[in-house]
């Protein structure tokens, strides 16, 4: 049983001053599963991601990854173990070309170990990765300054940054927000393919329709508490979930 679970979160809590951002949330993730995390604005989704990836230390509770406790470890240690995450707010290195943005993860000891990345090959690897997330290889796009790229490209650059690490668990914090319909449509199959290739994925999303097309299971947060866990359509039937989403339904 231990073998098939990649991530276990046990009653983690975190409050900022008086605000309880995450309140005793527990869940687990099977290997190769695609889990959605949804909830209204400010319900603690990003904080939960930060708790798992080490950017925020929990007040209590445990995070266990591949059988090892990783609670409160430094973010780079957790990333080195194979958990990659995107940031909700994209902040690329604007003054660098898109492909040079990927040099940073490609420089890491993890990539050196996995790919034997040598000097000079990193640029090629970076362009390959960008192609994987839909940057047209033969255009100038991969070589353009990040500052001149549209938002949708920056979001996918963020995804490529994660894939560079060859992660075992990928956490996407609102990857689709700010993307156009067509960009979402072209990114969905990429994520699906990654998942079919055996990658475990957690997706924090506000765009429920798109999420439900690929997620086998979702958990719902409200005021930091987990209020539902199960297959998307079952979960959305729950009264509590409907009530939480009342009023914010329109924007999804």
């Amino acid at each position: 049983m231990e073998d098939s679970t990649i991530l276990t979160v046990e009653r983690v809590s975190k409050s900022f001053g008086g605000v309880v951002a995450v309140d005793g949330v527990s869940f687990h993730l099977e290997k190769g599963e695609l889990l959605g995390i949804i909830g209204p604005n400010g319900s603690g989704k990003t904080t939960l991601v930060n708790l798992i990836t080490g950017f925020v230390r929990p007040d209590s509770g445990k995070v266990i990854y591949q059988g090892k406790e990783i609670t409160g470890k430094m973010p780079y240690k957790i990333a080195e173990l194979g958990i990659a995450r995107t940031f909700q707010m994209v902040r690329p290195f604007y003054q660098l070309p898109a492909f040079k943005n990927l040099i940073i993860p490609l420089y890491s000891p993890r990539v050196k170990k996995l790919r034997g990345g040598k000097y000079g090959e990193r640029d090629d690897m970076a362009v390959d990765l960008l192609e994987e997330v839909g940057f047209e290889r033969d255009s100038f796009v991969p070589y353009k300054m990040a500052a001149s790229l549209p938002h949708g490209y920056l979001k996918r650059l963020e995804l490529a940054r994660c894939l560079a690490l060859r992660p075992d668990l990928l956490i996407l914090d609102e990857l689709f927000s700010g993307m156009s319909m067509s960009e979402v449509a072209s990114t969905l199959p990429i994520i699906e393919r990654l998942n079919e290739g055996g990658l475990s994925i957690i997706m924090v999303e506000h765009r429920l329709k798109e999420l439900f097309r690929i997620a086998n299971r979702v958990i719902v947060l409200n005021f930091g508490r987990k209020i539902a866990d199960g297959p998307p359509h079952q979960v959305m039937k729950k009264e509590e979930v409907k009530a939480a989403y009342l009023g914010s339904e329109g924007e999804t």
Binding site: F55, A79, I103, Y107, S108
Partner: protein, 338 residues
């Protein structure tokens, strides 16, 4: 038939061919690119040759300028990683005292004490700063500002390493050419070495830490290890300046930790232009000689000095180097039309 001309930017041909990749097609373009790199090297290397013309006093100024420029480079490297340092005197003092100590106690010659003092001093400073690498911005700055002052008081009260008298009568350097060329060559090595380093992948990661350390951490990179490495490299440049000056003055004392060595490099960097390494060097070659010239004005010196500094910083907030660089790229030539 009259010939018509239009103006064209000199770098146009080079840049138009590809956004960032240079493609050279003539000697003129090659010269355009090489000149700004080669000229300063030639100028620096020929400065010591003017010994007979300008006199020993100005050669002494040259040595001091090189030392300050090294500290300014050291400051700029740390700033590239996002570490704003107000304590370059720490590096200078550590290098100076270790060198002095080795020479004073064991009688080792300069060609041994200077390298040992440089590496040992840099290592000492790195270890000292290790616990505060997690601090950011102003907090890191305050700690680095206090450390050299603290060490000076420590030496004074415990009376170790000569106390407030210092250690004098140290071995002199082996000759005037050595005295003049070693700092100049060291400065050139640091200048071009740092510029190279920061453009490598390693340097990109360092700058990444400055711009967005969370993104770097989520890329599975230990930012504290890299910060420590950068501090060590910056420390080598700073400690070398201290180590060399110890033997140059044949003396080391509490002035090695003086505030001047912290503030002056910072001023040079800001005046010359942060983040280019060439800027801080240029800044040092303006400010140090300037402050020597102003000595003639006695106490009014500080007033003039500060006024000039303020005018420069307000007038050219980007730094002199970046200004010149921009203007250089805008050079135009006349080309025949039709």
């Amino acid at each position: 038939m009259s010939v018509r001309y239009r103006k064209e930017r000199l770098d146009r041909g080079i840049k138009a061919r590809c956004e960032d990749i240079f493609a050279l097609s003539s000697y003129r373009e090659m010269l355009y690119l090489l000149l700004p790199r080669v000229l300063p090297v030639i100028a620096l290397l020929s400065l010591p040759l003017l010994k007979g013309v300008v006199g020993l006093y100005w050669e002494k100024v040259l040595v001091v300028t090189c030392a300050i420029a090294l500290l300014a480079l050291s400051w700029d490297l740390m700033a590239s990683v996002g570490l704003v340092c107000l304590g370059q005197a720490l590096f200078f003092g550590a290098g100076a005292y270790l060198t002095g100590f080795l020479n004073h106690s064991f009688g080792w010659p300069p060609f041994l004490t200077i390298p040992l003092g440089t590496l040992g001093g840099a290592l000492f400073c790195t270890l000292l700063l290790l616990p505060v690498l997690r601090l950011r911005g102003i907090y890191f700055a305050i700690v680095t500002l206090t450390l050299p002052l603290l060490l000076a008081r420590f030496i004074e009260t415990t009376k170790i390493l000569g106390g407030n008298v210092g250690m004098s009568g140290l071995s002199p350097l082996p000759g005037i050419w050595f005295e003049l060329y070693v700092p100049v060559v060291a400065l050139l090595i640091c200048l071009f070495g740092f510029r190279r380093l920061i453009n490598e992948d390693y340097g990109l990661v360092l700058q990444g830490i400055r711009d967005n350390d969370r993104a770097v951490m989520s890329g599975a990179i230990n930012i504290y290890k890299l910060k420590a490495q950068a501090v060590f490299i910056a420390g080598v440049a700073g400690a070398f300046a201290g180590a060399f000056m110890t033997h140059y003055y044949q003396f080391v004392g509490m002035p090695a930790f003086a505030l001047d060595y912290s503030i002056l490099p910072l001023t040079c960097a800001v005046l010359g232009g942060v983040g280019s390494f060439a800027g801080p060097t240029l800044g040092a070659f303006i400010l140090v000689p300037l402050s020597e010239i102003l000595r003639a004005f006695g106490t009014l010196r500080v007033v003039f000095y500060s006024t000039i500094l303020i005018i420069c910083v307000v007038g050219l907030p980007e730094g002199i180097f970046h200004y010149i660089q921009r203007k250089y790229h805008q050079f135009e030539r006349l080309v025949e039309v039709g």
